[in-house]
């Protein structure tokens, strides 16, 4: 098992959001978390990535206890987090943002290889190497955020709402790029609003509601669940 989250409690200040959330991800899997707004999906990802200290529970990565490790150490272990807000460096060029993504890789050649891999994945970024990240369009910024996450050569990528605010066509592009990453052996945990589409491409799904896992299983089964159909898919 690549990632194991055991009875995770997390929140902000005195406000507890997650209650005993448990989930597992195997190497090479494409897993998603779906749920209504405010359910705690981003909170789950922030806790795993080390940006938020858990209140309780355990997080194991590759069998190693990473609970409460600072984010920079979690990144060094091989988890990349592409946040909802993207957190790009707005006054740096595309190229510099990508270089920052490879901060944990010291070898210049390896950095260069990653850079080429990302430019192949998103030719659009290659065209705009020297543009400031802050002046890019919403879709380009999403690509840059995913690309920057890829730069550290992660084993596991946590991707939070990559299609948020994108036109349908760009949403397709984003999903395609995630597909390519999966084919390259990267494990992905995806949070998405676009439940229909997400359940159709991922292997397994967790349904998070009010800070609790309500349901989990194969994505196709979850998509056919009557409750999920009623609440999320609107059928």
């Amino acid at each position: 098992m690549l990632l194991e989250v055991k009875e995770l409690d997390a929140g902000y200040g005195y406000l507890q959001i997650l209650r005993k959330v448990s989930l597992q991800v195997d190497t090479g899997e494409y897993v998603c978390i779906v749920g209504p707004n405010g359910a705690g999906k981003s909170t789950t990802m922030k806790s795993i990535s080390g940006l938020l200290k858990p209140m309780g529970g355990k997080i194991y990565f590759n069998g190693e206890d990473i609970t409460g490790l600072p984010a920079y150490e979690v990144t060094q272990k091989g988890i990349a987090f592409v946040s909802e807000e993207m957190n790009l460096f707005v006054n740096m060029s595309v190229q510099e943002n990508l270089l920052m993504g490879a901060y944990t890789i010291k070898d210049k050649n390896a950095q260069q290889d990653r850079m080429e891999f990302v430019y192949d994945l998103f030719p659009r970024l290659a065209e705009r190497k020297s543009q400031l990240a802050g002046t890019m369009s919403g879709g380009e910024r999403k690509m840059l955020a995913i690309g920057r996450g890829m730069m550290s050569k992660p084993t596991l990528m946590l991707v939070d709402e990559p299609s948020f605010g994108l036109a349908p066509q760009l949403t397709e592009t984003v999903f395609e790029s995630l597909d390519i990453l999966i084919k390259n052996g990267v494990t992905i945990m995806l949070v998405e609003q676009n439940v229909n589409k997400t359940l159709s491409v991922t292997d397994r799904a967790y349904v998070l509601e009010n800070g609790r896992i309500g349901l989990d299983g194969k994505s196709s089964d979850v998509a056919n669940d009557s409750y999920v159909k009623k609440v999320f898919l609107g059928v």
Partner: protein, 341 residues
Amino acid sequence: MYINFKAIANWAKSAAGITITISIAVALYATINSGPYVLVNTIITGGMLALVATGLTLMLGVLNIAMFAHGEYFMIGSLTAFYVFTPISNYIMENPDSFLVIIGPVIAIVLSMVSGAIAGVISEKLVFGPLRRRSTDNWVMNSFLLTVGLSVLLINLHQLIFGADFKGIVRYWGGMPVSIAGAFISRDRIMAFLISGLIVFLFWFFMTYTRTGRAIRAVSQDATGAQIVGINIENIVLLTIALSCALAGVAGGSLLFMYPSYPTMGLEPLYMAWFVVILSGLGNILGAVAGAFMVALLKVVTVEYIGAGWDFVVPSALIMLILIFKPSGIFGSEVRGVLDK
């Protein structure tokens, strides 16, 4: 060669272009009108201000601290240089052929830089770090108040331990003044300018092209993003405060021959550096350097043509005007204000 005239014209029409052009014109006029010493004074004051102001910008951008104790690191630098150089200078008097004639001042100035950095690290460990760990609510205000307290504390510590008198030296490097374009300029002044120029250049290079410099900029632009890509923010914070205080320290040390050390000597460079930071927009190194020379010019020209008592009034008035018309500063168009975060 192909020259992009349109880009140049656009630049000249921008706020930065207009101010830089006007500044150069004023500098030329004052030089022709009153003599080259105007230019020399501007360049030396500007170089010193650039060192102090880049430190301020950095503290503001990376640590989110509106630093009002920065002048005291300038003071610590000059104090260190005084106590290091005085025995060296006595030794030189007796042994005029010693290698220390050349190297002695360098030792004093380097140690002033080191003492600035150490003082910065101690302040972070004792003052800012503990506050940051306890709570970051209202951080900008609380940390600002702390810096004011720190300033008062350091000023009084100086007075208590070293006394309130002027601790100065006659010169660093002796010898005849050098004649440049008909003006006689002392070697110390030339060296002071070379030192600040070299340090500003090295610093700019470090920030632009090295991995660590890039990490510092990353933290200032998006602290969460920096953590995500694997940067240990605590290290960067410590490094940043050490660097900014080292810059202030070396400014104080290298100008000891002009400004003797005394408890409140840091207040003037502090206010001037704040003018620079406000003028040039937050978090912009090259802007801070350009702004430093403009504020220096303004000060020198004011003293020359209006009178010595006015050298604070005119720059402040101008800065108010600039803030009314261009709140983000002259060079600050793309930089978000740190205080908005």
